[in-house]
């Protein structure tokens, strides 16, 4: 054992693994798009791409929030219900009221933040597992929305055209919704990657006990993660309202499983500590693209769900394989002690 110099700067093995994970999705996506385009070139038309991106936008925003929670070794099943409540709140507010879009976005996100804070407080201070809490709030929030809506529906013609335009209008060819989703993605991605706060979330998920010992404000971060997830679900609710124009109390029902699926496909480990929001967003994009591609490829739409399911299994299986490989290679390089 002798002293050694600084290790030569080289690509971190960690980054390579992460990149490999996301690369896999990108590759799958590329293959899918290529195959589909060959069979039907219109799949790559402007309108078609725009539609796919628009459809991805909402799922991606939810997936980013979910990824933040999952990275901390928690889960948020209430996002679908929160989306519904936020969409209905905003819809009611805007019903025959011409308020600025930005206000709608803030109100929607605000609704989500409140729900998220509730989840976070229950998880952290109530000491209740996240799965139980958010399964509970999934029911409660949906129930509240139904109560409030009382079976009514908000139609596109009751919403201000400014708001509906926001759902369709574009900036230099890119829809606002997509821009907003990208903004959310980039901000969250950068915070998670390059800010202390973000790294602490990873640390908490990687080892909750060590996080406590490292002096990480676990309570604040846990609640923060749920607030982000809730807030983004609320934001997604506004996007939903703008995009679809018709809102009833059932908006977003069953979304939670799609979102978790996108996150899992995107390579975020369900036991926390690893993965990225980029992966989650790619997962959302992949799932959405599969949906569109199957329609274009004239594959029976009934196959769609089965394919999504098989893909999830494939994704987590591949992930495990990569992880096992990396673990083996790390062991072989081994400790310098022996």
């Amino acid at each position: 054992m002798t002293a050694v110099g600084l290790p030569a700067p080289r690509r971190s093995s960690l980054d390579v693994v992460l990149r490999a994970r996301e690369l896999g999705i990108v590759l799958a996506l590329a293959v899918l798009v290529a195959v589909t385009t060959i069979s039907n070139p219109r799949f790559l038309s402007g309108q078609s791409i725009r539609d796919i991106l628009l459809n991805t936008a909402i799922l991606a925003v939810l997936a980013v929030g979910q990824a933040v929670v999952v990275i901390t070794r928690n889960i948020d099943l209430s996002v679908g219900s929160v989306l519904g409540l936020s969409a209905f709140t905003v819809g009611t507010l805007l019903q025959n009221n011409n308020l600025p879009v930005i206000l709608a976005l803030l109100v929607g996100a605000g609704v989500g933040v409140v729900c998220g804070a509730l989840n976070g407080v229950l998880v952290r201070y109530g000491n209740v597992p996240a799965l139980v809490v958010t399964l509970g709030t999934l029911y409660v929030v949906r129930g509240v929305t139904y109560f409030w809506a009382g079976g009514s529906q908000i139609n596109a013609d009751e919403l201000p055209s400014g708001f509906l335009n926001f759902g369709n209008a574009t900036l230099i060819g890119i829809p606002y919704l997509v821009l907003l989703a990208v903004l959310v993605l980039v901000v969250t991605g950068v915070v998670l990657r390059s800010y202390r706060m973000g790294r602490e979330l990873y640390a908490m998920g990687s080892s909750p006990q060590a996080a406590r010992l490292a002096g990480i404000p676990v309570a604040r971060r846990t609640i923060g993660a749920f607030v982000v997830s809730g807030g983004l679900a609320g934001l997604a609710g506004v996007l939903f309202a703008a995009r679809f124009g018709t809102i009833d109390a059932a908006a977003g029902t069953g979304y939670e499983l799609n979102v978790v699926a996108a996150v899992v496909v995107g390579g975020v480990a369900v036991f926390g500590g690893s993965g990225s929001v980029w992966g989650a967003a790619l997962g959302a994009l992949l799932l959405t693209t599969i949906g569109s591609a199957l329609a274009v490829l004239e594959i029976n739409q009934f196959w769609q769900q089965a394919i999504v399911g098989a893909l999830i299994l494939l994704a987590i299986g591949a992930d495990r394989l990569v992880a096992a490989r990396v673990a083996a290679s790390l062991k072989k390089r081994g400790s310098h002690v022996s």
């Binding site: 889960i75 099943l77 229950l122 109530g126 000491n127 209740v128 597992p129 799965l131 139980v132 809490v133 399964l135 509970g136 709030t137 999934l138 029911y139 409660v140 929030v141 949906r142 129930g143 509240v144 139904y146 109560f147 069953g254 499983l257 978790v260 699926a261 899992v264 480990a269 369900v270 036991f271 029976n300 009934f302 196959w303 769609q304 769900q305 089965a306 394919i307 999504v308 399911g309 098989a310 893909l311 999830i312 299994l313 987590i316 299986g317 495990r320």
Partner: protein, 324 residues
């Protein structure tokens, strides 16, 4: 730290199991006394039929959750079993072969989950979300958008019928038999001891000679088998085989199990509590509907109960701690 925590956890758990049974009994009594037509024998029959799928699927689910895993694919297994039943019926197969085949199918689907979770060692939450989509998708592939009806009246009538002229529904036999089987396995056999051991600490269980992988694998098979049975019963009850049968039931089952005091982290739970949880949810739903309270209220009540079932004992403990 852990010593303090665990000391209170034991009593808290026992308390909750008793509490949920007590709450259920109280709700039943109050509902019978205040809600018109709740206490009728006919309504009892409806109630039993309504809780049937949740009640039987919750039994193996309890064991799975006690080992620290979860199975979210149960409702999709139910759907696929139902779809295959319809498909085979359309193919003019005799119902006497279809039913065992559907049960077998359920077991195989469970085995697939078991394979991914125990052999490949993947997290069960992710695996069963995957198979949730996969099995439901296959159900649509098998049966497409059609619905198959006209199952033999002798079978459908049995499922909706009662024992002789008594008001006791036939399917109650199935529920009771399965509850006894799973209850005895969990609480009075070496397998049950191993289930709790694996849930409490997989490693320590292995050091005591238990094989966690095998155990979990068979629990997933059991879960699939019972879900397959639930698919058959569902189909016969509504005399309608459809690919979307039972969609979304998985969360209701998990909610009932957790409400019954089973810890999502494994190692803790008791079947009587789970059965009480199922009955509580079912009778609340029934009573609220009879009193013209909308479905929505039930959503809220379910969610609040679910959170309260863990939060309540936690808070009570903390209060006790402060007093000391």
């Amino acid at each position: 730290m852990s010593a303090e925590l665990t000391a209170t956890r034991a009593s808290r758990f026992a308390n909750w199991n008793v509490a949920i049974i007590a709450i259920t009994v109280v709700v039943l009594i109050v509902a019978a006394a205040t809600v018109d037509n709740f206490g009728t024998s006919e309504n009892f029959g409806f109630l039993v039929l309504d809780v049937l799928p949740i009640a039987i699927i919750a039994l193996p689910m309890t064991l799975v959750i006690v080992t620290g895993e979860i199975d979210l694919s149960v409702a999709s297994t139910l759907g696929l079993s139902s779809a295959v039943m319809g498909y085979l019926w359309n193919q003019n197969q005799p119902i006497e072969t279809i039913i065992p085949l559907c049960l077998l199918l359920g077991a195989v689907l469970g085995a697939v989950n078991g394979f991914f979770v125990t052999v490949l060692g993947l997290p069960s939450l992710a695996v069963t979300i995957g198979t949730l989509a996969l099995y439901r998708g296959l159900a649509f592939v098998v049966l497409g958008d059609s619905a198959v009806a006209d199952f033999p009246p002798s079978y459908t009538a049995w499922v909706t019928g009662t024992i002789g002229s008594t008001p006791i529904p036939n399917v109650l036999i199935i529920i009771v038999v399965l509850a006894i089987v799973f209850g005895v396995i969990l609480h009075a056999t070496p397998i049950g001891r191993a289930v709790f051991a694996v849930g409490a600490s997989e490693q320590a269980a292995r050091f005591a000679g238990v094989r966690p992988g095998r155990l979990k694998f068979w629990l997933y098979v059991a879960s699939g088998l019972v879900s397959g049975l639930a698919g058959v019963l569902w189909t016969l009850r509504y005399s309608s085989a459809r690919a979307d049968n039972g969609a979304g039931l998985e969360l209701a089952v998990v909610a009932a199990v957790l409400l019954g005091g089973v810890s999502i982290f494994g190692g803790k739970g008791a079947l009587p509590g789970v059965i009480a949880g199922v009955v509580l949810l079912g009778s609340l739903q029934n009573a609220l509907r009879l009193s013209d309270v909308s479905n929505e209220a039930l959503n809220v009540v379910t969610g609040v109960l679910l959170i309260a079932s863990v939060l309540g004992p936690n808070l009570a403990n903390r209060l006790k701690g402060w007093k000391q």
